[in-house]
């Protein structure tokens, strides 16, 4: 029983890690991004995360798009913590793999 549970946990961690490892772009939605002191403060906090290559802020849409260095993994929990540090309430966070999408299109 215990070994089955352990196996399930290992499989779960593997799946989650795989999803994050495949993600090379993260889209974060927050409220109150119109103020430059807040928006660029959030950018500053997110830049502290290891593995973030580039940050693009879409103030009008309230979106932050993070490009992740190839092969690097960033966790949703760390992201949420940094967003809270910047004085925002994290809303939607979406991990995507743009290359995969591009390949699928091709």
């Amino acid at each position: 029983m215990q070994s089955r549970r352990r196996k399930s946990i290992v499989i779960f961690i593997f799946c989650v890690t795989t999803v994050f490892a495949q993600s090379n772009e993260v889209t974060v939605r927050v409220d109150g991004l119109s103020c430059p002191f807040c928006a660029y403060g959030l950018e500053k906090k997110l830049n502290d995360i290891k593995g973030v290559e580039n940050i693009n802020i879409d103030i009008e849409e309230g979106l932050i798009i993070l490009k992740i260095v190839e092969g690097k993994i960033i966790s949703e929990e760390e992201l949420r913590e940094k967003i809270r540090d910047a004085g925002f309430t994290p809303k939607e966070i979406v991990f995507t793999n743009k290359d995969k999408k591009t390949r699928e299109k091709e």
């Binding site: 119109s34 103020c35 430059p36 002191f37 660029y40 403060g41 950018e43 500053k44 830049n47 004085g87």
Partner: protein, 275 residues
């Protein structure tokens, strides 16, 4: 009886005089004159110097000097996310938000100004001949560096003497005026850290981003409300300017005019004191 009548008359005369002087202060009539369009400049900080404007172009990571028509005459690039700047003795002091540094531009060169107490996200700076003061956004405080001494004004919170994400400051007659941005008010401190006055708490300011103080007035930018609130030095609201602003971030006074940077539409509004 005569004495009582004299006293009553004197009292009435004083009351009427006071009312008149108050009334004349309450109607200064600042008037919108024109808009300066900025080409691909997203302004956060603004300072007037002679017939020129120094502007922090936050989106493009640069500091710009323009003439009063908005034409760029000088550009200093590679200054990351510049915020509320200060001009003193032909030197421009710029808070660089992500690096937690103050950059000084002098004789065409930009270099780091040595700060003893490191801020986290400096949003505003003020400099005069005896001190440098920094609005320390994420530490919810103002840091005064006077010679080798550091004085801290405020701490995180919402009560008197506390600050919540301060973005700008200015100093006049040894009083420190702070745009206490997310407490939606202005707060005035002395150099010992005592809070002397809280201004604008009942005026429905929605993020007090920028501040300027003259011999007679305190000007505050209401970012989300797209307004400029004008107070006298006692903190009494004397005028609210509502039109011709779009998410204002900073305000600066020069030659009987105020200039307001509009982050929302990349412009500067010019307002003159009516004759």
């Amino acid at each position: 009886m005569l004495k009582i009548l004299c006293l009553l008359f004197t009292g009435l005369f004083t009351f009427v005089s006071c009312k008149d002087s108050e009334k004349s202060e309450i109607n200064p009539e600042w008037k919108f004159v024109r808009t300066i369009k900025l080409n691909d400049i997203t302004p956060t900080g603004l300072q007037a110097e002679g017939n020129f404007l120094w502007i922090s172009d936050v989106k493009n990571n640069r500091v710009i000097k323009t003439n009063l028509n908005g034409e760029v005459v000088k550009e200093y690039s590679d200054i990351k996310r510049p915020m509320h700047l200060s001009v003193y003795n032909s030197k421009v002091f710029v808070p660089e938000y992500p690096s937690d540094k103050i950059i000084i531009i002098e004789n065409g060169y930009a270099e780091e100004y040595p700060l003893q107490e490191k801020p986290e996200a400096p949003a505003g700076v003020f400099v005069n001949d005896s001190l440098i003061a920094v609005a320390d956004f994420y530490n919810h405080r103002i840091v005064l560096q006077i010679n080798n001494e550091n004085i801290i004004l405020g701490k995180a919170g919402h009560n008197k003497g506390e600050l919540y994400y301060p973005t700008d400051l200015t100093i006049r007659n040894d009083k420190v005026y702070v745009a206490d941005a997310y407490n939606n008010r202005v707060q005035v401190f002395d150099y010992k850290g005592n809070s002397l006055k809280v201004i604008g708490e009942k005026d429905k300011i929605n993020v007090a981003t920028g501040i300027e103080v003259t011999a007679k007035n305190i000007f505050v930018t209401d970012f989300e409300g797209s307004r400029i609130l004008i107070y006298n030095l006692d903190g009494i609201l004397i005028e609210t300017l509502k039109d011709n602003f779009n998410h204002p971030t900073d305000v600066t006074y020069h030659n009987n005019a105020i200039f307001v940077s509009n982050y929302g539409d990349n412009t500067v509004s010019v307002i003159h004191l009516a004759d």
